[in-house]
């Protein structure tokens, strides 16, 4: 009993007296977060009591609004960190990136977990979420594929992250087992990721009349998959930037010495992927003979801004950053790249979809608040885990374990 008390005090309350811990919770960031939650959580409750229309801005013509556009279509590529880092470390033998492996897996797991959370709010009958898994199959549907893969991948991500959990609760045997199947889990994770990242794009294949020709292409699945790779790489950079800046005490001091070099390496990889993606998009325009659309208002200009300003430009920023060793430029490029991916996903899922319909509205304050609420919860949970679990640092009792 005493052991448990001790563990709780050490690992939940960070070794502080409860009173002290609660006092330390009062920070500007936490106050703002609490404010958001106080407004947002009642909105979520209203959504369940009064139906989707009370909070979500979907219509009969445009069923997918900002809520799903952000939660699913943006959330998933931004959570692509796990499979990329795991591949790098386990499959391509880049052991140097070990310090970033667990954070990447955690980012991925939390990201997918909250993508499912967004779904639970957006689905008309969320209690039926398991239906495509157990009750009735619609295998001709690409959404069926997405559902299955997200469910499986969430499990895989948890398995990949579980060593950290097992270290935290001090179970050596389970941890050893989890480490043992890491490679297999990684391979499985890459397969699942390839399929569902591209499947999210494939969801738009059967609406050729609805999506603007500059974004519609039979190759949308490939676009979504490739952009998820550099989105993941950029998110790893962003995550380490934020954690090393705001939670430096939770990071292994050794890591500070190598993080710049690792960041440059990630930037280099991202630049290769992005230039590939850029040319794929150009080929897409050529393939559809859509050159004349590039100078239409507003979609043509939007496409040009997206591809030149938020793909090519960050790509060059990465290249110059690597060449000159300018880590700050790399970090800025990471933010710009992620902004570009968000822009692309929201365009495909919302702005360029049903582009010929009149009277479309996208501004929805309540919906925006709910999104902000869930993001806040996501950040708080992420912070909670990084503060307690061996994510950015090794657990003292397991520091000597050979992986």
């Amino acid at each position: 009993m005493n052991e448990i008390k001790e563990w709780v005090s050490e690992n939940i309350f960070l070794g502080l007296e409860v009173k002290e811990y609660l006092r330390r919770l009062i920070t500007p960031f936490n106050i703002v977060a609490a404010g958001i939650l106080i407004i947002g959580i009642p909105l979520i409750i209203i959504r369940y009591m009064q139906g989707l229309g009370a909070v979500i801005h979907g219509s009969n013509d445009q069923p997918f609004s900002l809520f799903l556009g952000w939660g699913l279509f943006c959330g998933v590529p931004l959570a692509a960190t796990g499979y990329i880092m795991a591949s790098a470390v386990y499959l391509f033998g880049m052991k140097d990136y070990k310090p970033l492996l667990r954070p990447a897996v955690l980012t991925g797991f939390v990201g997918y977990f909250f993508a499912v959370t967004f779904l639970l709010v957006d689905l008309g009958r969320p209690w039926r979420l398991p239906y495509p898994m157990v009750r009735s199959f619609g295998p001709a549907s690409i959404l069926f594929l997405v559902a299955w893969h997200v469910a499986l991948y969430l499990t895989v991500q948890f398995v990949e992250f579980s060593p950290a959990v097992f270290e935290w609760i001090n179970t050596r045997k389970l941890r050893k087992w989890a480490e043992g199947i890491a490679v297999g889990a990684t391979i499985f994770g890459v397969i699942l990721s390839t399929l569902h990242q591209s499947a999210l794009g494939a969801l738009f294949l059967l609406a050729p009349t609805k999506l603007h020709p500059l974004w519609y292409s039979p190759n949308i699945p490939i676009y979504f998959f490739i952009s998820s790779i550099y989105a993941g790489l950029s998110m790893i950079i962003i995550e380490s930037t934020l954690v090393y800046k705001f939670l430096p005490g939770r990071v292994d001091p050794q890591n500070f010495k190598v993080i710049d070099r690792l960041t440059l390496g990630l930037g280099k990889a991202a630049s290769f992927v992005m230039i590939t993606y850029f040319f794929l998009k150009i080929i897409g325009v050529a393939h559809g003979a859509d050159w004349h659309l590039l100078f239409t208002r507003p979609y043509g200009y939007q496409f040009l801004i997206e591809v030149f300003g938020f793909v090519l430009l960050p790509c060059f920023m990465y290249v110059f950053g690597v060449r000159t060793g300018d880590v700050k430029l790399i970090r800025m490029a990471a933010f710009a790249s992620v902004a570009g991916v968000i822009m692309n996903r929201l365009t495909v899922a919302m702005f360029a979809l049903n582009w010929e319909l009149p009277h479309r509205e996208f501004i929805a304050p309540k919906e925006f608040l709910v999104i902000l609420t869930i993001i806040t919860i996501e950040i708080l949970i992420y912070r909670w885990v990084v503060n307690r679990l061996p994510v950015h640092r090794a657990h003292p009792k397991f520091a000597d374990e050979e992986d």
Binding site: Y48, G58, F64, F92, P132, F137, S141, F188, P221
Partner: protein
Amino acid sequence: MNRDRRKFLKLLGFGTVALGMQPGRAFASIDDIKINRPDSYGVLCDVTRCVGCRSCEEACNTVNRLPAPDKPFDDYAVFEEKRRPTSKAFTVVNQYQTSKGTLFRKIQCNHCLEPACATACLVHAYQKMPEGSVIWDEKLCIGCRYCMHACPFYVPAFEYESPVPRIRKCTLCYDRIHTGQLPGCVEACPMEALIFGKRSDLIRIARERIRKSPERYLDHVYGELEAGGTSWMYLSSVPFHEIGLNTSVGTYPMVEYTRGFLSSVPLVLVIWPALLGSFYAFTKRNSEIKKHNNGEHKEEVKNSVHTKGGE
């Protein structure tokens, strides 16, 4: 190493099984449709006869026990804006100013032969019945609204205002046509602008009308081939886009557009484990060789020092 090899082989096996389990529904070609479903019913809508009386809307409302509308059915001010089917109105009539004057067109589910909604539904909540109706099953729907996204005609409506929302749309009066009755709208239409019968008969009748009155009709039956063929078809005196019908829908059923991607899924399931497994094996072997060389080098250094010392 053994554990990983086992996992790798398991994945290979899984992938092979997945290959066999490919969504193997033969996506019907146009010929299949003509051959396999000659007896399904449909409705032919002759736009030249419609006068916008909205009797069909009223009948649909009665037959399906829908709630009272905001504006009564004899309120013709509704024609000032373009409406679409909603969760409370399975069909609406719109007014169009065309090159041949004012025309009216009735909008409702077209009951496609290869419905995009049925393809899109991940829990198989839609069924294309042999009689022609495309029916939604309340017991399975999870409310994802992908069917609404898939329908090229913007038909399914969703009960956003309900905590237990349903998809609402025309059912081609499935319960009525079973008992030999006509769909509500067809029965109510005073101009017989709507006729109900076997799809093959309707196409024949449509062609006959075109043949008899070529100055009255455009030589095209909308829905005969559009979106892979629909059960609800239209005759018109003006180009179909003038009465709000989408003429860029093409003749493929929407499902055809996903075929390429879906068939690549089993390929990934088989190729990826082999590819990635090889990468892993390669890098592992690489690092083993490195370790081994380092080990030998250390041995050499030890030996040379030893020898030196022994000198």
